[in-house]
């Protein structure tokens, strides 16, 4: 029988900026695995022919989005100081990705319900009141069962305009998830005369169902 190994839980909060925003989630996972190898961290591997590090991510980030609040859980076979984990990873991680914090234990990622995004459009809408007052906002959206016309209004918690930026608090997580580019598409369709142009998307924070920040 294989001997039981004691594993130590850690979680990381990291940011993805600049060029790193073009890395897809799948590619990020691979990049991250290799970063851990380079850092020489005592990573716990899964069993089987093709052992891979045991990791879990909170919420995949779309290609083109930046973020400062990404969460990732990992397991190590040895206990290490939190700051050491952070520093060793940062020393060998590609530009544009940075570990902000490392913590012992499990994160609260399972509780994630909302995310706050900052959207920078080329042209700001004058107001979004009319848009938010619509009974339903129907837009074609990727769902688990393919692309479907969906009412996204219930998944919008808040949209605020300020300073050439839009702040959106949207449902996030495995149950209900709305991405801000879908909202922008809906705005372009339903706010008459509005054309956002190309937008920048940034994830600023994630929350639980009581809007308490998860970090």
């Amino acid at each position: 029988m294989a001997e039981e190994k004691i594993l130590y839980d850690y979680y990381l909060i990291y940011e993805k900026t600049d060029n790193a925003k073009y890395i897809s989630h799948l590619d990020f996972v691979r990049t991250y695995n290799r970063t851990m190898r380079r850092a020489g961290l005592p990573v716990a591997f899964s069993e089987g022919f093709n052992p891979h590090p045991q990791l879990s991510f909170a919420l995949p980030l779309s290609v083109g989005y930046t973020s400062e609040c990404e969460l990732l859980e990992l397991k190590l076979t040895e206990e290490l100081p939190e700051a050491e984990i952070r520093d060793r990873l940062n020393a060998v991680i590609p530009d544009g990705i940075k570990i902000l914090e490392a913590h012992k234990g499990r994160s609260r990622m399972k509780k994630l319900r909302y995310a706050r995004y900052i959207v920078t459009p080329e042209i700001m809408p004058g107001s979004v009141d009319g848009f938010l007052n619509m009974n339903e906002i129907i837009i074609d959206k990727k769902t688990k069962s393919g692309i479907k016309d969906t009412d996204i209004r219930p998944d919008i918690r808040e949209i605020a305009l300020s300073d050439g930026k839009m702040e959106m608090i949207l449902c996030a997580g495995s149950d209900r998830n709305l991405k801000p580019d879908v909202v922008v598409r809906a705005m372009n369709r339903y706010i008459s005369g509005y054309d956002s142009g190309d937008c920048e998307y940034h994830r600023a924070a994630v929350y639980d169902d009581e809007m308490k920040i998860i970090n």
């Binding site: 600049d18 060029n19 790193a20 073009y22 890395i23 897809s24 590619d27 990020f28 691979r30 990049t31 695995n33 290799r34 970063t35 851990m36 190898r37 380079r38 020489g40 591997f45 022919f49 093709n50 052992p51 891979h52 290609v63 083109g64 060998v92 991680i93 590609p94 530009d95 544009g96 190309d198």
Partner: protein, 630 residues
Amino acid sequence: MSTVNIDKILKRVQKPTRYSGGELNSVMKDPEGADIRYAFVFPDTYEVGMSHLGMKILYHVLNLRPDTYCERVFAPWVDMEEEMRKENIPLFSIETRTPVREFDFVGVTLQYEMCYTNVLNMLDLAGIPLLSKDRGEDAPFVNAGGPCAYNPEPLAEIFDFFTMGEGEEVIGELMDAYKEWKAEGGRRIDYLKKIAKIEGIYVPCLYDVEYNGDGTLKSMTPNCPEAKPRVRKRIVENLDEIVYPDKFIVPFMDIVHDRVSLEVFRGCIRGCRFCQAGMIYRPIREKSPDRLVKDAECLLSSTGYEEMSLSSLSTSDYTRFEELADRLLTLTEKEKVSLSLPSLRVDNFGLSLMERVQKVRKSGLTFAPEAGSQRMRDVINKNVTEEDLMRSVGLAFDGGWLTVKLYFMIGLPYETDGDIAGIARLAEKVAERYYASEKTNKRRAPSVNLSVAGFVPKPFTPFQWAGQNDMETLRRKQQLLKGEIKNRHVKYSYHQSDVSVLEGIFARGDRKLNAVLVRAFELGCKLDGWSECFDMEKWRRAFADCGVDMDFYTRERSYDELFPWDFVDIGVTKDFMMRENERAKAAVTTPHCRLKCSGCGAASLCAGGKCSVYTEESSLKKIRELKENG
């Protein structure tokens, strides 16, 4: 110097990390601090180019020089090209997004003929004139190397110069000459004449060609004293002393070969008669296991790769293969890295080794008997017997492998329909071998995947005189083979026959093809290596528009014909290739370099005119081994 802004278009294209850069271990220098800026161009997409070992080596070697900054350039995919053309964004380098036309050198590696139109398309995207003669004093020096450069003539009007042989041996001299030339304040042509004197450099505009009435080459003569009548390839003699990258760039996207690859040796001892690589890279030169293990450790820790492979022509011919595999496996097992050992030859690999490899990861096994009948294998000098194959396959099946892939060629010289049927017979025997064994699991079924390619006669091979089958003949043979396969465990796939005909035309082409290439590019040919982009009709039109006959290039040739590539001296002599062709006709094999030196001529490239492979001692040892094994 300027840079391009691609942020906007990157949002609109698939796989933006093909273009965005910033990968780990990519070299970032201050462009202002570099005297020489070198754009290394791989004329295919990022995922193909980034898998190429030669590029990694040259990138590393050039960037070791403080005075030089080498950056990478790849062919944009169709969607990106469209956005670039729409927004007027010229072809740019990955590292600093500098327009390619602003570099001092644009160095292209030519790995296969089907990338030639990409070269033109990329020059066009870069805003660099397609033809060498049209480039002004400020234009970069557009040059090429790689295996296809050994017959440079189809591209002679496009490139300013070519490098024959192993680039890292020559590139330093080219850079030094550039700085001297800059200091002297010479004209463009002065630099070209200056480097024409360097061994291994070919400057096409310094040669005049004349043709006979029938279109064959009459003469090729230097038109200035600097140009050498024969251009001799350059090689690195001692591989243990070469610079090998201590870091590989680690891409974000999944590329074709996404792993650490170790270059175990260059060259090949075998001498299969169809194989250009086996001739142009002669003689064989090995790295020591010590050096390889050091390279492996270093690369694994700098990349974090979870996979490693050995990259050489016939890896299991490595003299100390068992020792190397053992030491590498010890390393990879510890690091939880999977080691793949591809291109194992049918006739020499041991089960114990396979089992250790299998422990880490189990993938399909490939074998390349290349021909179906023993007679045909003797013709092509593939020294593999049916027993060898059955023994190896048997070991694999008994060891739990279910999938084997077999590579074959059709359209070989001196081939009969019986030889083609032989491919089906052999594949079926392989499948039957699975059921004949008591050790295999009968609840599962084997699959034998046949990969069949049309033979392409290549310059610098004993088959360089051979006629190439036309498309109809190849199609007939494909159908014949398909019809012969009765066993349902044998799966058959074949390569597009028109691609191999085109490949053959350019492989043995002459200067007249430059016009065809330009025309094909104008008609929209690009990314010809991608079946979704390849369009044979456009190619036919290009040939017709230029009045160039395709059949002229696929025809059989006679021994007294002067070939466009004869001026290149690869070490191996034309005389040796003729001798080999005669032996092929008689279906007589030639022993490999370790058994016996056949006097191919490559020894002249080595110090003292002696090949290090062949020693009296190694030959005696091998003969003893053979006797012991019966």
